[in-house]
Amino acid sequence: MKIAVCIKRVPDSETRVKISADGKSIDEAGVKFVMNPYDEFAVEEALRRKEKAGTGEVAVFCLGPAAAQETIRTALATGADRGVLLQVDKPPTDPFEAAKLIAAELKAGGAWDLILFGRLAIDDYNTQVGTLVAELLGLPCVTAVSHLDIDGTKGVAEREIEGGIEVVDFSLPAVLTTDKGLNEPRYPALKGIMAAKKKPLEVKPVQPGAGALEVVALMPPPDRKEGRIVGEGAGAVGELVRLLREEAKVL
């Protein structure tokens, strides 16, 4: 099985966001960057599919700054075969511009059986690059996959929807975006980390277009007004209910 996994370098989920002086982006000083958590499910799924098939290739693609080589090495350390960094100074704001660059690279890389993405990146929350790439490549796409069965060129995926689970039939080759629950991602072993240093990692500078989503401002979330402790123990419940009814008007 020939599998492409597309990953992104993002700030760790525990990061406290500080807005930079330009008022349009975050201040990256002191921020710890990691592989997007949803992409870990994609990498793991690719490795398992290859292991199951007994043959094939897992190639990792990342659109990001030079420092994202480290993110790719993490994927190589868990067992991916090679990496490609589509190097930009900054990933584009418009997800369609990102998708165009990734789709062009995947197309040049030949015929993939599976192309995997995380279902969303926890920085920009665009939740669409995988789908856009699928459309650009003319491939079927299933998003937010939490369970997957593949038999030859036929696949069945499950995805969480509001109030239930959708069971979807699709054909391969396909683009899938992965959700929590699909698998339990492995940690890189020391041996893998050593081996990753010798695996091929190609760096290709690319130039994103301006795109059609223009950031006007990045702002802190609206402040919540200072709350109060109503009281202690079950005795405070009466007052809590009164406040919810009369002051907050939510009951």
Partner: protein, 292 residues
Amino acid sequence: MKTLAVLEQRDGALRKVSSEVATAAGRLGVVDAVVCSSAGVEGCATAIAARAKSGGYDAVVFAATATGKDLAARVAAKLGVGVAMDVTDLSLEGNTVIATRPVYAGKAMQKVRVLGKPAVISVRPSVFMPPPDAKASQLEAESLSVGSPGRVVVREIKAAPAGTLDVAEAQVIISGGRGLKDPANFKVLEELARAFGGKAAVGASRAVVDAGWRAHADQVGQTGKTVSPSLYIAVGISGAIQHLAGMRTSKVIVAINKDKDAPIFKVADYGVVGDLFEIVPKLTEEIRKLHG
């Protein structure tokens, strides 16, 4: 601005979020509404994109639900643009859509000019509330017919047990964390949810989902669902930054925790300090009286 609202339907009925999509689209101008009920996801995307093109719409608005986000991206790609996803505020600057959307899991808000023609947008559920008397069933939507269903087809929907409401759609959410001590104790929260008479859902923190106590579908937070109910009650949840990210846009937040220094009290409008196993049953009793 000529706007196309793409409504959502399941089992033959429009979903509640549909009236929110129409409300959001109405902020941008004159609205036409369509709905596609085919199980062929690609077929629907093709039909909606064709309608958006032929109708010469300036904006196309979807719900940022699991189905809506998926569809919005497919349609946008066919129209040659990206999606302003999961928008919580919309306005017009001349003839340009300005959208505000939470990023970094709600730790920041990104305001963008949506310059694509058309502008493709998905709106977060429970944000663009229609007037109280509006009902989804009163919306008039054109039902789009689908040519070929395509290569991605929904075979079935395994529905959650009857009476369980999804956290992403509930007006009231009662979430539990490690303070519950045991998965069986979530019944205390389920009873409180029931007291709200079908309006409330039970959510969970990442810690208890990772521990296998609750399903991932119930998880609120950065790697779970982002929710904006009118009332969020956090029970035995300390308030890790990744949890706060998922619920801080709730209209009113109540925290019940034995640790008065828990970070959850910093975002809560009302806090009660103490033993949840005494406080929650008392609250259930009071709510039952109100809804009696």
